[in-house]
Amino acid sequence: MGTTDAELLARCRNGDHSAWDMVVRQNHQRIYNLAYRYNGRFDEAEDLTQEIFLKVYRTLHTYNPELGAFETWMMRVSRNCIIDHYRKLKTERRQTDSLEGEHEQVAEVGKRFSNPADVLDHRELSERVHAALLRLSGDLREVLILRDLEGFAYEEIVEIVRVPIGTVKSRINRGRVEMAKMLKKEF
C-alpha cells in the first residue's frame, strides 16, 4: 500500500467524504466480484458490496498499517461479512423453506450448459467452474476463491481466514480435487 493510499485512509478517518468516495471507487469492483464469486447472484452481490463497505467504514479506525496491507485487511472484513450474510440467509431459509432451493438453483446454473454438443467458449467454461464452485462446502469454497480466483498467497489467506497454514493448504487441495472430479463427470 502506497503513501497516497495511507493518506487517503487517514483522511477517511478524519471524516473526509471525498477521500471515502475515492476508496470506494478504487475497490468496489474487486469486492463486487468477490461477493459474486461467493454466491453467484448479481443482486445479492450488489447488496453485499454495500454492506461490506459500510462495515469497512465503521471499522476503519481498527486498521493498523503496521500489521498488514489494507487490501488483506479489507478482504478479511469482506470475508467475515459474507459469512455472516450466509449464516443469516441460511437461518431464514431454514425457517421458510428447505435448503433444496439452494441446490436446485446451483443445479439450474449447471443445466444451462449440460448439452455436450455445445462448443464451450471461455465464458461458458468459467460459468461451469463457478457452478461447481458453488457446490463446494463454504470452507473449501472460500480458500479456493482467495487462492485460485483472487490470487492471494497462502500467507495472506492465513491472515484473511485466520486458520493455520496447514489447514489452508489442505482445504485448497481438497477443494481442487473435488472440483476437478465434479467437472470430469460433467465433460
Partner: protein, 159 residues
C-alpha cells in the same frame, strides 16, 4: 519419502506437486505413480485446467450507480470532542452565521431597550401615585380644612 503410493496419497499431494513445493524424492514418487495410473493423470490434467480457468476468471463490472449508492448511504462520521469544537469554531466564522449573530444582537438590544423603557414608566407612575397620596394626606390634616369640616358638621346637626 512417498513409497508405494495409492491414489488417495497422490490426491493429498497434488497441489504441492503442481506448485512445485515437494521435496525432490517425493516428487519423483508422484511422477512414478502418474506413469502407471491413468485416473490420476486425468485428475492432474483437470486440476491444471481448473487453475488456468481460475487465473482468467471473468471480471464483472458492477453497475455504474453502485459506488454512488454506497457513498450516499455511508453515515456521517462520529467526531471527537476536539473535532466537534473545531467544527463549531469554523461554523462561527462563516458569513451566514455571523449575519445571524448580528441580527440576534440587534433584536435582543431592541427587546432589552423596551424593558428599560417600561421600568422607567413604572417608576414614574409610582412616584406620581406617592405624590398624590401625600397631597391628599396634607389636605385632610391641614387645620383650616379640619375647622371647615367641623363647622360644616355642626350646621348639619342644627338643621
Amino acid at each position: 519419502m512417498l513409497n508405494n503410493l495409492k491414489c488417495t496419497d497422490f490426491e493429498e499431494n497434488l497441489s504441492d506437486y503442481i506448485e512445485h513445493s515437494l521435496a525432490a524424492d517425493d516428487r519423483a514418487a508422484l511422477e512414478l505413480h502418474l506413469h502407471v495410473c491413468p485416473s490420476c493423470t486425468e485428475l492432474i490434467s483437470g486440476m491444471k485446467q481448473l487453475m488456468a480457468i481460475g487465473r482468467n476468471f471473468p471480471v464483472h463490472t458492477p453497475p455504474a450507480w453502485l459506488a454512488t449508492r454506497i457513498v450516499a448511504n455511508t453515515p456521517p462520521p462520529r467526531l471527537s470532542l476536539r473535532q466537534r469544537l473545531a467544527a463549531f469554531a469554523q461554523s462561527l466564522a462563516e458569513p451566514r452565521t455571523a449575519l445571524a449573530i448580528f441580527t440576534a444582537v440587534i433584536v435582543m438590544g431592541w427587546i432589552g431597550g423596551g424593558s428599560v423603557r417600561g421600568a422607567v414608566m413604572d417608576r414614574a407612575e409610582s412616584a406620581v401615585s406617592c405624590a398624590y397620596d401625600h397631597a391628599i394626606r396634607t389636605y385632610y390634616r391641614s387645620p383650616v380644612i379640619i375647622e371647615l369640616h367641623s363647622r360644616f358638621d355642626q350646621l348639619m346637626e342644627n338643621s
